[in-house]
């Protein structure tokens, strides 16, 4: 039985070694601290599910005060940049050239129809449907602009509104419906999955490549001590990466944070252990840094992007895909982070997620230790 003093001397030695290596070899620091910045900025700014400054055509065959008013209404929203066209043909040509994302056609009888309290105003909206998701958003926004303008216009004229009841939408947790608020917490989860797994997978693979793992295995240090040393060292580095990610989320993307910082750190710590352990598990099959990196991307990045609820709503997936998502830990962390950032410390959501993450951490660690022990065979 190893005494506590012996354990701490051995473990201290291993830990010191890891930190010296982290400082001397900048690749780990680059992964932990630089990669989150690059990924968050690239993907955060790159992926936006909002329509903003969409170039949009207004075909004005009516040339009235009313049509000018509607043009102004488009110009006044942050979502559109309207361009005026005289004929539908010209607007179609612009759409073909991808100069505009769509257009509305105000026919020559537009002002007369607007003035008619009984009949609805006929407005054609044409949208480039290649990107179906984007087309839906643009269509919705354009309809919204027209409806709002029409309502205001009739109210000004003391004309009765067509619809007796108007629906007023209120979006909870994300009142501005900024998709960034929803995506960035998910991105942080994705980035943490990746750096956690990459750090340990690469570092252990490097020890196999250089033959140092063999020397360690032959020493009195146990497998648990060797892996624990890596886990603790890269946990500290990973927390640094988390700090950087959260900072970028709050400051650069201006995502609100409504939960408690302590809970964020606690949940993230558990998740970090999960992904570090995942890296250790990868290293039991990948003996070269190249293969380790490939595997880490494959098992962390892709599922975290597609199956975690970050990009695609899990509820609307087919049932069997929903079942598949439950085995990827990123899903539970995405949900936790979105809750903490946008809703607050909602324990009924956080607790089941946390429980799953703790389960994964224990499972992956146990597997990693058991598998590395036999890995020379």
């Amino acid at each position: 039985m190893t005494s506590a003093r012996t354990f701490f001397r051995r473990f201290g030695g291993l830990l010191r070694k890891e930190f010296v290596q982290i400082v001397r070899d900048p690749s780990s620091i680059a992964i932990a601290l630089v990669m989150p910045v690059v990924l968050l900025l690239l993907i955060g700014f790159g992926i936006s599910l909002d329509a903003r400054n969409v170039r949009f055509g207004i075909v004005d065959e009516n040339r009235s005060v009313e049509s000018a008013g509607l043009f102004q209404a488009f110009a006044n929203t942050p979502y559109f940049r309207p361009f005026s066209f005289l004929t539908s043909r010209a607007a179609e040509a612009a759409l073909m050239r991808d100069d505009i994302a769509g257009f509305v056609v105000l026919r020559s009888d537009f002002s007369r129809r607007v003035a008619d309290p009984i009949r609805a105003a006929d407005i054609a909206i044409v949208v480039n449907g290649v990107d179906a998701n984007n087309a839906r958003i643009v269509t919705g926004y354009a309809q919204g602009v027209v409806a709002t303008w029409l309502l205001g216009h009739r109210r000004d004229r003391a004309q009765p509104a067509l619809a007796p009841i108007t629906v007023e939408n209120r979006y909870w947790f994300n009142p501005e419906i900024r998709s960034t608020n929803f995506i960035v917490p998910g991105l942080i989860a994705m980035v943490m999955t990746m750096i956690g797994a990459l750090l340990t997978a690469l570092v252990v693979a490097r020890e196999w490549e250089r033959g140092t793992m063999e020397a360690m295995l032959a020493s009195p240090a146990s497998m648990t001590e060797i892996l624990l040393g890596k886990l603790v060292a890269y946990f500290v580095l990973g927390l640094g990466g988390l700090g950087v990610s959260v900072f970028i989320g709050l400051v650069v993307f201006e995502v609100p944070f409504r939960g408690s910082a302590e809970v964020l750190i606690a949940v993230s710590s558990v998740f970090l252990i999960v992904s570090l352990a995942m890296g250790l598990l990868i290293s039991t099959v990948a003996r070269s840094q190249f293969v380790a990196a490939q595997l880490a991307f494959l098992v962390t990045f892709m599922p975290a992007l597609i199956l975690s609820g970050l990009m695609f709503d899990i509820e609307s997936m087919p049932r069997w895909v929903q079942a598949v998502t439950t085995v990827f830990p990123a899903r539970y962390f995405v949900s936790s982070l979105q809750t903490l950032f946008l809703a607050g410390t909602v324990w009924p959501v956080l607790l089941p997620n946390l429980a799953m993450l703790v389960g994964f951490a224990v499972l992956f660690l146990a597997l990693a230790i058991a598998r590395t022990r036999r890995s020379l065979e």
């Binding site: 001397r9 030695g13 070694k17 360690m216 032959a218 009195p220």
Partner: protein
């Protein structure tokens, strides 16, 4: 003598391949046991089994009085140095030692005593703050040894500690290990260098996972007493004479050793007519049998030799003059000068060897001569072409065979040949006739449709050579072609190379293997980025003949040259 390790019918398999079969042996305390054999013989597997990194499938293993199942009892008493020394390159010498001390739970007093002793012992004391990654091969080796010796092991396992290290460091290591053996430590030293086996107290010779022989080296070679001779060779046609000698029924083994032919006779056979073989006036001098002679005789008894078909080269010998010329070839990597003003010339049909330890700059020189790397200064001409001007033309005249063979493992033998002939721009009838030539000359017909990756090492080597010769190059570059292969394969390979050279092909070889260097007509010794000497292997050895050392080996010469070089540099630095 008490046995430190006892192996009984030990067996270990990885999947379907048996790495070790039925090994029974004992390793004694206070002596150096050589674990000898070519690559893939099972040396590393055996060491890992003893170190407790693997568990045996069959048989029993007892280490320091404990069965293999009880590893924890003995782990502290085993020092293990894996291949490539198992050092952390980002850590300094001191930090590497500290880590080992922590792992072995040494207290402060024991630590300072052990550090002082080992640093002094290995001569590393002035360099403790240097990163392990920046050490020379010889220094890494000593640091690896110091780490393994730190906990005062009773059993020291060294996996190829001297591979690729310069011969001076190699001797230094022997001195240290010899001292350790004197204190009662059991030492297992694995090696592919057969000459090292002779320095061990006892040896275990492995081949294909089986124990071929064991015992004292002197007893092993003693069997050949009176059957080994050296015969002076004529200036020309040495390879032809060697081939004729090897085919004589009374001869077990015939090899070229510098200017001499080394003959090993079969048991009970008389010396053949030397005058008829070599020419009038030739004399056969008896010589001491070597470990390699005994190994080869043993292998021949098991595996009758394959008659190596002579490679007929159709390439016309290049015009008189110079096949390869390096002039003040220099290459810098950042601040580090890897190659410093290397100059030499090679005549057509000559076999020239660049001999030196890993990291000395031979591969860099080699790459510049193949046109794979541009020199920082100096020039290189190969087959009449300036590599600085017409690299592509030069490459057409160069055949290259790398140590790793560079074959496509999932393609068949024929597909590999077809692919490489395409790469070299062969087409039409020439292409099919060259492929047919390669299959015939290298005896590949039987395996032509098998995947190259599934072939045994010897076939891969032949195929790689065949691929390199498809375009009938005038110059052949060989990168450590036979390091780690068994001596029979090495003989077969070099007999082909000899025939090629006689056909006018110029051959440039790099090696850290003394045994390989013996096959060269001339050698350039590369050390610390410079070519410190060049000449025939015999001439080099002759310079270091003394009364104590009437028959110096190439290694003796190498060590002597390094000493001379270092002394000269120190003198220059002082002046």
């Amino acid at each position: 003598m008490p046995a430190s390790v006892t192996l009984t019918n030990l067996g270990k398999s990885f999947g379907a391949t048996a790495a070790l079969t039925d090994v029974t042996a004992a390793i004694g305390a206070g002596q150096i046991t050589g674990l000898v054999g070519p690559d893939g013989a099972g040396k590393t597997t055996l060491l890992r089994l003893i170190a407790g990194l693997l568990t045996p499938d069959k048989g029993t293993l007892e280490v320091l009085g404990h069965p293999a199942t009880n590893r924890d009892a003995v782990r502290r008493d085993i020092g293990y140095m894996p291949q490539r020394f198992g050092l952390y390159e980002d850590l300094t010498i001191q930090e590497n030692l500290n880590l080992q001390a922590d792992l072995h739970d040494l207290d402060a007093a024991a630590r300072s005593e052990r550090f002082a002793t080992l640093l002094q012992f290995t001569g590393l004391a002035p360099f403790t703050r240097r990163l392990a990654g920046q050490l020379s091969g010889g220094m890494k080796q000593k640091l690896g040894l110091a780490c393994a010796l730190l906990p005062r092991p009773k059993l020291l396992l060294l996996d190829e500690p001297s591979a690729g290290v310069d011969p001076a460091s190699r001797r230094e290591l022997w001195r240290i290990v010899r001292t350790m053996a004197g204190t009662g430590v059991a030492i297992v030293w694995s090696t592919a260098y057969l000459d090292e086996a002779e320095r061990c107290d006892s040896f275990l010779l492995l081949d294909g996972g089986r124990l071929l022989a064991s015992g004292k080296p002197a007893d092993f070679t003693h069997r050949l007493e009176g059957r080994t001779f050296l015969i002076d060779l004529p200036e020309r046609q040495r390879h032809r004479v060697q081939r004729e000698a090897a085919s004589l029924p009374s001869v077990a083994d015939a090899t070229i050793q510098g200017r001499s032919l080394r003959l090993v006779l079969k048991e009970g056979c008389a010396l053949p007519d030397v005058a008829e073989l070599v020419g009038a006036g030739a004399l056969a001098r008896p010589t001491r049998p070597r470990f390699e002679d005994a190994f080869v005789s043993l292998l021949l008894a098991e595996r009758p030799p394959v008659a190596a078909p002579v490679v007929q080269t159709t390439s016309a010998p290049s015009a008189d003059g110079i096949a390869i010329e390096a002039r003040d070839l220099t290459r810098d990597f950042g601040k580090f000068r890897a190659v410093d003003k290397v100059s030499f010339t090679v005549k057509p049909g000559e076999i020239f060897g660049l001999l030196g330890p890993n990291g000395a700059g031979k591969s860099t020189t080699f790459r510049m001569l193949c046109g794979l790397l541009a020199p920082s200064a100096g020039s290189a001409h190969v087959a009449g072409v300036d590599l600085g001007r017409a690299r592509a033309t030069a490459r057409e005249r160069i055949g290259y065979m790398s140590q790793k063979f560079s074959l496509y493992g999932t393609l068949s033998v024929r597909d590999n040949l077809d692919f490489f002939s395409g790469v070299y721009g062969l087409a039409g009838r020439r292409r099919s006739s060259r492929i047919a030539w390669a299959i015939e000359s290298f005896d590949l017909a039987a395996v032509a449709d098998l995947d190259a990756g599934s072939l045994p090492l010897g076939f891969k080597q032949r195929l790689a050579l065949g691929c390199a010769l498809l375009h009938e190059p005038q110059v052949l570059f060989l990168d450590e072609p036979t390091s780690g292969v068994d001596p029979l394969m090495r003989r077969e390979f070099w007999s082909r190379i000899g025939a090629l050279a006689e056909g006018g092909v110029t051959v440039l070889v790099t090696s850290h293997f003394m045994e390989e260097a013996e096959y060269c007509d001339r050698l350039g010794i590369v050390y610390a980025g410079r070519m410190i000497a060049s000449g025939s292997p015999d001439a080099m050895k002759q310079r270091f003949v003394t009364a104590d050392l009437p028959e110096p080996t190439l290694e003796d010469a190498f060590v002597g040259l390094i000493h001379e070089h270092d002394a000269e540099r120190q003198g220059a630095a002082a002046a």
